[in-house]
């Protein structure tokens, strides 16, 4: 390393905050050598995680996920579409990840964040390939009508590990999803039946198409963990500051039976060797259990 002595000397007389800003890497490495992180977490531990369901009343399903201060709001709107001819009895899921300017100082209006479409794509790849949702369950009338579910995820506060939080909020939103009861009207269009009230007389005339299918069955729920590889250290669930200082990120997505849905590493100074990959997978397994518990506590109904 360049000038170890000069910084060593400086650090003794320098304010901690100033040291953190001027020598961020050294600041972190000092912590890492003590097996601690600046926010008092051990290396392999994720931040506190909270999930809240059903916050958006205009959506059919919604969830807010918070990992540390990274906050994601996911909401699902269900609309009707004509299924394509090659899969007449399957619905569709469209996933969009947004980073509005409120979430981070780096995002400005009119200049969308570079990361947003990439995370969007990774989310839809992960959710669709994990087999969490059987698209056949989104079918209403075979060949005529099926559900198109629009899942929109908004990042309200970006503080690292965006993909993990986004995936968590997406899964929670699907678990919160209540599919509206609908019927086929005379024009061949699908209309909603407002469960009770004045339309009772109308509803009895039209048979509800999906009375028993109000909820989707979620199997193979994916959970993800992002880790930083730095030298031989592995830091789970990095904050934005950590991500900006140490650039090698690895995201492992496992499903509920510990199958690998995605192993994502794009570049970075540190190469991933088998031993590091194995440790990341182990951490992800542990994290998967934690998340399962958090989501399990939510599923009261």
């Amino acid at each position: 390393m360049g000038l170890p002595d000069s910084t060593q000397d400086l650090s003794s007389e320098m304010d901690v905050d100033a040291f953190r800003r001027i020598f961020p890497l050294r600041f972190f490495e000092r912590h890492l050598s003590e097996s601690l992180r600046p926010d008092a977490r051990p290396l392999g531990k994720a931040r506190d995680t909270i999930v809240n369901l059903g916050l958006v009343s205009t959506a059919d399903g919604s969830a807010l996920a918070k990992i540390g201060s990274t906050t994601m709001l996911a909401a699902i709107r269900m609309e009707v579409m004509t299924p394509s001819t090659d899969s007449p009895d399957e619905g569709c899921i469209a996933i969009e990840f947004h980073m509005p300017p409120i979430c981070s100082p780096t995002v400005r209006p009119g200049r969308p964040a570079e990361a947003a479409p990439v995370i969007s794509k990774r989310l839809s790849d992960t959710i669709l390939s994990s087999g969490m949702i059987d698209l056949k369950e989104l079918c209403l009338v075979s060949g005529k009508a099926a559900w198109m579910s629009y899942l929109d995820i908004y990042c309200l506060d970006a503080d690292g590990s965006l993909f993990d939080a986004a995936l968590l909020s997406a899964v929670a939103a699907f678990s919160n999803l209540k599919i509206p009861v609908v019927a086929l009207n005379d024009n061949g269009r699908i209309v909603a039946i407002n469960g009770e009230g004045e339309e009772e007389s109308n509803a009895s005339k039209k048979e509800a198409v999906n009375k028993e299918k109000r909820k989707l069955t979620l199997k193979n729920v994916p959970s993800s963990l992002t880790c930083i590889l730095h030298k031989s250290y592995i830091l789970a669930d990095p904050t934005a500051e950590e991500e900006s200082i140490m650039d090698t990120l690895v995201t492992v997505v496992l499903d509920s039976s510990d199958q690998m849905v995605s192993f994502y590493k794009s570049g970075g100074n540190v190469l991933a060797y088998s031993s590091a990959i194995k440790s990341c997978v182990e951490l992800a397994k542990k994290r998967g259990k934690e998340l399962k518990q958090i989501l399990g506590e939510m599923d009261i109904d």
Binding site: A115, R122, Q259, V261, S266, Y273, I277
Partner: protein, 241 residues
């Protein structure tokens, strides 16, 4: 165990490789790379004075522009751009030309599977052609997991669709070193075994992933050899000239 592939290849057999460099006049470096019918053209401009807002006074900056064969650039292309950019940044020496931007333009000529690995290889060859300082090369390969659990390398588009899972892997090239064997080990593994980039689609078990990595690694040795041979050839030509 042996499965039949459409084109009669063995599971771990790559399609014929072709690489030519310095094919375009205006860019500082260019290369075309093809694996079977998949063909990608890469051009490198730079290093130029940093004009991008994300320029860094201490490091060289890279931008990747992905041009699809036809149509508009979508999310998938944006993802490829990001992966490629980060991969390039990790193999180049960034401190030599601080405060500069180097543009890498990728033009897809034909996509018949393994597109991203092909683009990584093309970009790498173009960077060498442009004389951008690099730590090592990046060698990319696509590994597929078939329904019956066997691993297939370098799939065509048709094969990609039939697979249960696939992994795009990028490794450093194998080195010819004067150092005694074993001196460059990192945690008991040779340097070239480390993964630079890994992108996977589809569900597979952790063991299958490691199987993919192992197979991919073996294949990159021959890819590295191809790179080396190609570069040596063109060097001889330029010496003569």
């Amino acid at each position: 165990m042996e499965i039949d592939r459409e084109d009669g290849r063995k599971p771990n057999q790559l399609r014929p490789l072709a690489c030519s460099r310095n094919i375009l006049n205006r860019p500082h470096g260019s290369a075309s790379w093809s694996q079977g019918d998949t063909k990608v053209l890469a051009a490198v401009y730079g290093p130029k004075a940093g004009i991008k807002k994300n320029e860094n006074p201490e490091k060289a900056c890279f931008e990747v522009i992905w041009k699809p064969k036809s149509g508009q650039i979508g999310k998938a292309e944006k993802e490829y751009e990001m992966i490629l950019k980060r991969t390039i940044q990790s193999i180049c020496v960034l401190t030599v030309n601080p405060n500069t931007t180097t543009s890498v333009i990728i033009q897809v000529v034909h996509d018949d599977g393994s597109l991203l690995p092909c683009a990584v290889n093309a970009a790498c060859a173009a960077l060498v052609d442009a004389g951008i300082p690099m730590k090592h090369l990046a060698v990319a390969i696509c590994c597929c997991l078939a329904d019956n659990g066997s691993i297939v390398l370098d799939p065509s588009k048709l094969e990609e669709k039939k697979m249960t899972a696939l992994a795009y892997l990028v490794f450093p090239n194998t080195t010819l070193s004067v150092l005694p064997e074993g001196s460059s080990l990192v945690e008991g593994e040779p340097v070239e075994d480390g993964i630079i980039t890994s992108v996977t689609y589809g569900v597979m078990s952790v063991d299958d992933y490691f199987l993919c990595v192992e197979n991919g690694r073996a294949a990159t040795a021959s890819l590295s050899a191809f790179f080396r041979k190609n570069f040596q050839q063109s060097q001889k030509v330029s010496f003569k000239a």
